[in-house]
Amino acid sequence: MQPFQPVLLEAVGIPDGHGLASYRSRGGYAPLEHVLRDKKPADVIETVKASGLRGRGGAGFPTGLKWTFLPKDHPGPIYLCVNADESEPGTFNNRILMEDDPHQVLEGIVLSAFATRASTAYIYLRYEYPRSWHRLQGAIDEAYAAGLLGRRILGSDFSLDVHLHRGAAAYICGEETGLIESLEGKRAWPRIKPPFPAIEGLFRKPTVVNNIETMACVAQIFRRGVEWFRSIGVPADPANPRDPGSYGPKLYCLSGHVERPGCYEAPLGITARQLIDGHGGGVWKGRKAKAVIPGGISMGLMTESELDTPLDFAGPGRVGCLGLGTAAVVVIDDQTSIVDVLHNSARFFAHESCGQCTPCREGTSWSLRILERIRAGKGRLADLDLLLEMGNTMGMMPGSTICGLADGAAWPMKNAIKKFRGEFEDSIRRTNPSGWMVTDPVPALQIVGAH
């Protein structure tokens, strides 16, 4: 298929592509100069709204619209938090953007801060990205030295400080209010909403939280234009007034059982099959895919027959997945046990559950223990009904939890058991011939894997 000419990834492979000189030579910071000279914050918001850009962090909320939730005429300070906590399993595009083109991210940050009248931007960077730390800090230092950050940027009235704030390996710090709590120095327990961050966020001031890739898109929208952005991707369905469309290029992370794992830039809407076969060299070792995660583990699983689903914001939802998420596509071959896949997911969520609300704290732990027992050959068919019930009732969407981590834990359970029930049942019957039919509670495993 026709390869998409990288835009977000244009610096990859360029020697010193992460430096200021390279960025400028590719047209970088000229848009910023233009905006600061000729535009007002409201203009920038309108441009971003018009572009149809939707947040790239997982929720896909229209970015320009999110910025309009800030209170008008607030005396400030207003904060911009850039979510560089990228921890969704399978996802690594932010890492590449930060390591290979940090100035693209920075320019997007300055433009976004200008639009939202933020005076300080904190980049909350996960601990596990030391190279990104060094690259970003280097770019920030270059930007300050060149008058692109700090007081009166490029001679304008706009001032902005950008600070790196380092995380400590907790997935929930990627949830926007978990991030805010962590930045404030507390345990990262997501806040109840309302109030929403736009009204009361970081340090109880109006705050916008945006993803790294979203920032890069903002920079490119101002370099190449709204029309360019809207020419890429899947337009809104004219019959559905509530469909915001899926515009722009997307970084797809492909990993798992493929020949060529990697980050591939493509228009929103590429199908999983096109990504795997066209970019990833196909399923590895000549095997077939059993299941594919469309957008990070939280989104659940697609079956092999669902691989022609377009990976835009609407596609995965049509095949029972939670959504596009981070567009991290993980391929699982047909020689892998789905029980092992779900166990891995359950172990992740049990480890990362912040522990604040009962259904998630207890549900993630309980489901892990059930899956450990199934894997140890002591599973029952009745366990699948329990897991399905937890999957159906745990989450922000049914209203039983404060944040969406529980939905992320629930979806793989729901998808795996609904779409692969046969395999689960076979596995349980085979490994527990004397006990698969028991419906009463059974003794717990004495040893549970560390989580």
């Binding site: 049990a350 207890e362 509670p441």
Partner: protein, 548 residues
């Protein structure tokens, strides 16, 4: 008036009230179960037990639109047209699942857990839970560690409602408690070397919905279903927290705060909470003894009524110390009896104990330095009898100058209140009556040739009547327990000395006081459980001697 619809029933709420769904439903007679919400703490909506279905009713069309998911009742405001559904299958199943989740690892310690009988986990299990365990069977852990000198923690019983942690951060401002770790491994703890050690610490035990936090003072002392509960007022300081005395067979086992938005809100301090042990101290004065030139003899209470009056009348020159530990009614009767015996009797306010300075906490709670509950009430009575309000120093002058021949000291302080040097001033009196909880240098004064009465006094839970706190709030309370072995509370003795028939009834005295003393008019009607500010009906504010 805004109307809220709860399970199909309409209730009106105040136009300016800010209620959540739990509070609104309560008005409609429905209790939405909850663990983590508390009106005195921040809202966290983390237990998820209070999930309900909500919606709104269009004011014009009456059409009801429901929100398509469950919402926490604690964080959802009840406004005009809010529809709350607490009994749908969705809500019932949600509650059953929360209960189930909390019980997965919870050690079923009920047979050895103090909280049994007043445990929300137990109660909600029976009301809202499901009958069968579905989780794997496993042996339970039940570890115990102390988080401070007065509070113990049974770690594994905790359901992570975080009320205790929030209390130490928001109300006491001391931040000793923390959550450690993450997810299902979370535990409550205090930092090594920085124990839970503030004067409001005991409140975290009240807050704990389960048997995780325990009062060391109460641990294993009594099963709660044997406890009887009497609304009382703490006698520890001039704050006058509304409390509940919990007792069985005339023994106090613990005190709990009673909600009073005007005084203590939901809290009480540890000095008050654990300040009942003196009631059961075996060293209490339990017998009436009269020492006279002929020797010392015990006197039966009915005889005290006549013989005490006779001794005081014979001596003449009466001076009385009216203790700020007495009720308004007792102070009134004492003053009346004293003036009957000697119309020129000096009526003085007894010593007012002080300890340190007022301590105010970030949540607004104040422990007063004035360590008695009724100085203002006694002063109001003394101001009426006049002339003016005499104080302890005035009485001491009276004694030292020889003007006093007979002195009746009502004390009833829980601890030492007079030193030997001051007591010695009373040595030359013809007749000295000391009515107190414990022996003191005053009660043990050498008789010489004079008459010395030693009368038992009673403590706060053994008294009935009214106290007026530092904020001018009058609170009435009933007697909770009987004093030791036939001891007559001051009120009963004085009632009989006034010649009244039947059992002592403070309400009768209250009405007489209300009719006679403008400053105490509010006592004429039955007071609400949270008391009443005396100043409400003061038309002409005669702040004569009732200033602080």
């Amino acid at each position: 008036m805004p109307t809220v619809i709860v399970d199909g029933r309409e209730i009106e709420i105040g136009a300016h009230e800010r209620l959540n769904c739990i509070e609104a439903a309560r008005r409609a007679g429905t209790e939405i179960p909850h663990y983590c919400w508390h009106p005195g703490l921040s809202v966290v909506a983390s237990c998820r037990m209070c999930l309900v279905e909500t919606g709104s009713r269009d004011a014009a069309t009456g059409k009801i639109t429901m929100v398509p998911k469950l919402v926490p009742g604690c964080q959802t405001p009840a406004k005009d047209g809010t529809v709350i559904v607490t009994d749908s299958p969705l809500v019932r199943e949600s509650r059953a699942r929360v209960e189930e989740a909390l019980l997965i690892d919870h050690p079923i310690d009920c047979p050895i857990c103090d909280k049994a009988g007043e445990c929300l986990l137990q109660d909600y299990h029976f009301q809202h839970g499901q009958p069968q365990r579905r989780a794997d069977l496993q042996p339970f852990h039940s570890r115990r560690r102390d988080v401070g000198p007065t509070v113990t923690l049974f770690v594994d019983r905790c359901i992570m409602c975080t009320r205790c942690v929030r209390f130490t951060r928001e109300v006491s401002g001391t931040a000793e408690l923390m959550v450690t770790s993450r997810g299902a491994k979370e535990e409550i703890d205090s930092f090594p070397g920085f124990p839970l050690d503030n004067k409001l610490a005991g409140n975290v035990v009240d807050l704990c919905p389960v048997g995780a936090l325990g009062d060391k003072d109460f641990l294993y002392q009594q099963r709660v279903w044997f406890l009887k509960r009497e609304a009382n007022v703490c006698g520890g300081c001039a704050t006058g927290c509304s409390i509940v005395t919990e007792h069985n067979q005339d023994t106090v086992y613990r005190l709990k705060p009673r909600e009073n938005p005007h005084v203590n809100r939901w809290w009480m301090c540890d000095d008050g909470r654990y300040g009942w042990h003196h009631l059961h101290d075996p060293a209490r004065v339990a017998e009436v003894t009269r020492r006279a030139p002929g020797g010392e003899s015990a006197v039966d209470w009915p005889d005290v009524v006549s013989r005490l009056r006779a001794d005081l009348a014979a001596a003449g020159g009466l001076a009385v110390a009216v203790s700020p530990m007495l009720t308004v009614e007792e102070a009134w009767m004492l003053a009346a009896v004293a003036r009957e015996i000697d119309p020129a009797a000096l009526l003085a306010l007894g010593p007012v104990p002080h300890g340190g300075a007022d301590e105010t906490y970030p949540g607004g709670f104040t422990i007063r330095a004035e360590k008695c509950p009724n100085r203002r009430g006694v002063e109001a009575v003394l101001a009426h009898f006049g002339p003016g309000i005499s104080r302890w120093d005035d009485l001491l002058d009276h004694v030292r100058s020889g003007r006093a021949k007979a002195v009746w000291i009502t004390a009833a302080y829980p601890g030492p209140w007079i030193d030997a040097a001051t007591a010695a001033a009373f040595a030359g009196l013809e007749c000295l009556v000391v009515q107190d909880l414990f022996a003191s240098p005053l009660s043990d004064l050498d008789g010489g040739g004079a008459v010395r009465w030693r009368l038992p006094a009673v403590g706060f839970a053994e008294r009935a009547g009214t106290w007026v706190n530092a904020g001018h709030r009058a609170q009435c309370f009933e007697q909770a327990i009987r004093p030791p072995a036939g001891v007559w509370p001051e009120g009963r003795l004085l009632w009989n000395m006034l010649g009244r028939r039947g059992l002592y009834d403070p309400a009768v005295i209250r009405r007489e006081i209300a009719a006679a003393v403008p400053a105490l008019t509010v006592l004429g009607d039955e007071l609400p459980a949270t008391g009443l500010d005396l100043r409400i009906f003061q038309l002409a504010a005669t702040e004569s001697a009732t200033h602080s």
